[in-house]
């Protein structure tokens, strides 16, 4: 058994539109257990679990939670980041559509442990179904007294609201997300101060990914120590993988960290249609590295991914078979990030149109050796000097293919030597 269903155990079994059904299947039991615990011991369990954030960067969840818990303020906000806009990722949608109350239960445990006063669930505007399911779930949870004043007879009050995005990938970035909930254009800010100190409406704010929140009921149930035994030493627990591209059974799979990419593609995804060969895969989503077939025995693990100078733990695997042109893929990726750039900093704003021109030359077999050098240095500069993760990670696909598929670049140069 490759899969290990901790977060997705109720998917397909529970009726997402029925809180009663969720409760019947032991739902909200972990929140009730947490309500009887000391707040600090909840955070200690999270610390013992060694849980790392599931949005991609893999930041230790307990550190952020503790920093936020320590803040004293009239309002303390939480944001559940469900902006999931990076091409190739759909696991947050899967969680919200199939088991919305597990997301709420995770948020409630966090909120209670940190004395948060209100949470926003920010869902990308394209996710109409997830938006209506989550709104319904929040209403049901309010009716049952899980959200509101004096929750379940305690002296704890907590509110929750669902907000919709309006088509902007960059808004997934923390400060852009804050601006968007404030009703502004979503542009990032220079850190520090970090959101946990001064975030939404100027108050302390804890931002986590949907999947991160879904881990908390599991941690409360089995304990941090047992949780830390799942997965690998550096990456504990399970990971939801969004498997897409040229693969027979695309979908979301929950695996313990440490499973190889090949196992996911071949065993869970049942391989490539018509037995075609895999040429390359992109890891993590559009911002991740593109690697060749011979690297598929790599284990899925945060630290392994960091070797690629990228923060690509969001868990997408995009399979591309032998028919796929590297440059067509790069062109679409550059196009995506160029379109989504907020325009605030120069390397990203000015760099993307240039990248696009250069990649297009390779696509059309019109590149020169000079173009290769320009592309290489531009990609590096953007990676190193952009203000936020968008501009920093957008060139990763180019940097990685310049390494692993360099021959293909040379093949596209019109007259080698012509400068």
């Amino acid at each position: 058994m490759l899969e290990k269903k901790l977060l997705t155990k109720r998917v397909g079994i529970v009726n997402p539109l029925s809180i009663d059904d969720y409760i019947k299947q032991d739902g909200y039991k972990q929140f009730k257990k947490a309500l009887k615990m000391e707040r600090i011991s909840i955070i200690e369990e999270v610390e013992k679990s060694k849980l790392r954030g599931r949005a991609g960067a893999g930041f230790p969840a307990a550190i952020k939670m503790m920093a936020f818990a320590k803040e004293e303020a009239e309002h303390k906000y939480m944001i559940c980041n469900a902006d999931e806009g990076e091409p190739g990722n759909f696991k947050d949608r899967y969680l919200m559509e199939n088991d919305p109350h597990s997301v709420l239960e995770g948020m409630l445990i966090t909120a209670y442990a940190t004395r948060a006063t209100k949470a926003y669930i920010y869902i990308r505007g394209e996710y109409n179904k997830a938006l209506s399911i989550m709104k319904w779930a929040v209403d049901e949870a309010k009716e049952k007294g899980f959200i509101g004043k004096n929750i379940l007879g305690s002296d704890y009050d907590f509110d929750m609201e669902v907000r919709s995005g309006a088509g902007a990938y960059v808004v997934g970035e923390e400060f852009a997300l804050i601006e968007s909930i404030e009703g502004k254009s979503g542009r990032t800010r220079v850190k520090p101060p970090f959101p946990t100190e001064k975030g939404l409406f100027g108050y302390p704010t804890l931002i986590n990914n949907v999947e991160t929140f879904c881990n908390y009921p599991v941690i409360i149930e089995i304990g941090g120590k047992a949780f830390a035994k799942i997965g690998t030493a550096s990456s504990t627990g399970t990971k939801l993988i969004s498997l897409s591209g040229n693969v027979n059974q695309k979908g979301v799979y929950e695996i313990p960290f440490g499973v190889t990419i090949r196992e996911v593609i071949e065993t869970l995804g049942k391989g490539v249609p018509e037995n075609r060969k895999i040429k390359m895969i992109q890891l993590g989503g559009a911002c991740g590295p593109i690697i060749p077939e011979y690297m598929l025995d790599m284990k899925i693990d945060f630290d392994r991914f960091e070797d690629f100078e990228s923060k690509t733990g969001a868990g997408a695997i995009i399979v591309m078979d032998e028919r796929v042109d590297v440059f067509e893929v790069l062109h679409r990726i550059v196009n995506f990030f160029g379109h989504e750039s907020c325009g605030r900093c120069t390397p990203c704003r000015e760099g993307h149109p240039q990248l696009e021109i250069l990649v297009k030359r390779f696509l059309n077999h019109e590149a020169t050796s000079k173009d290769l050098l320009s592309l290489e240095s531009l990609a590096r500069v953007m990676h190193q000097t952009s203000l936020c993760g968008l501009g920093q990670s957008s060139p990763i696909s180019i940097i990685s293919t310049l390494g692993y598929f360099r021959d293909e670049y040379h093949d596209r140069i019109e007259f080698v030597g012509k400068v």
């Binding site: 091409p87 394209e126 404030e182 254009s185 591209g245 995009i318 995506f336 379109h339």
Partner: protein, 154 residues
């Protein structure tokens, strides 16, 4: 629903700007907002007109130009691309005799590209209005579009 009626459902604070814009634009047959309407929204929420304009231009959902009654958005990203997305684009262009970014003469359809719809597990995908269609083939697309043609007077 008239704009004023929608506005009155919201507290007069700027953080509801995006929600108001979304809700109101959705009620409009041609999916766009006019300068007059933006002014009215700014006034009600007590925010500057320039802030409203900046929000409208920042988020791709908003438009200041009228669009077709049905906006077809076809996903442009890699997981759809490697699942035969180009043949869908070709089919729709031929069927409607327009290019991506254009609106049909009868103002019924606008064809656009969209970023990944998060439906890559059922690629290729497209959206028409608030509905996402998945596992598309050229034939399936033809059937969907002719169904929307029938909705002309709906």
């Amino acid at each position: 629903m008239p704009l004023q009626e929608i506005l009155e459902k919201y507290p007069k604070t700027g953080d509801h700007l995006i929600e108001v814009l979304l809700e109101y634009q959705n009620t409009k047959m041609n999916h766009y907002l006019t300068e007059e309407e933006l002014k009215q929204i700014a006034k009600y929420l007590n925010v500057t007109e320039s802030r409203v304009s900046s929000v409208v231009s920042f988020y791709t959902f908003f438009s200041l130009e009228p669009k077709g009654q049905h906006v077809i958005q076809i996903c442009h990203d890699v997981p759809c691309y490697v699942n035969d997305q180009p043949s869908l684009v070709k089919t729709i262009k031929n069927l409607l005799s327009i290019d991506v970014g254009q609106t049909t003469e009868d103002k019924l359809f606008t064809l656009e590209y969209t970023s990944c719809l998060g439906a890559c597990d059922k690629a290729p995908a497209m959206r028409i209005g608030e509905k996402t269609f998945t596992d598309l083939t050229p034939n399936k697309v033809k059937a969907i579009i002719s169904e929307y043609r029938g909705k002309r007077h709906a």
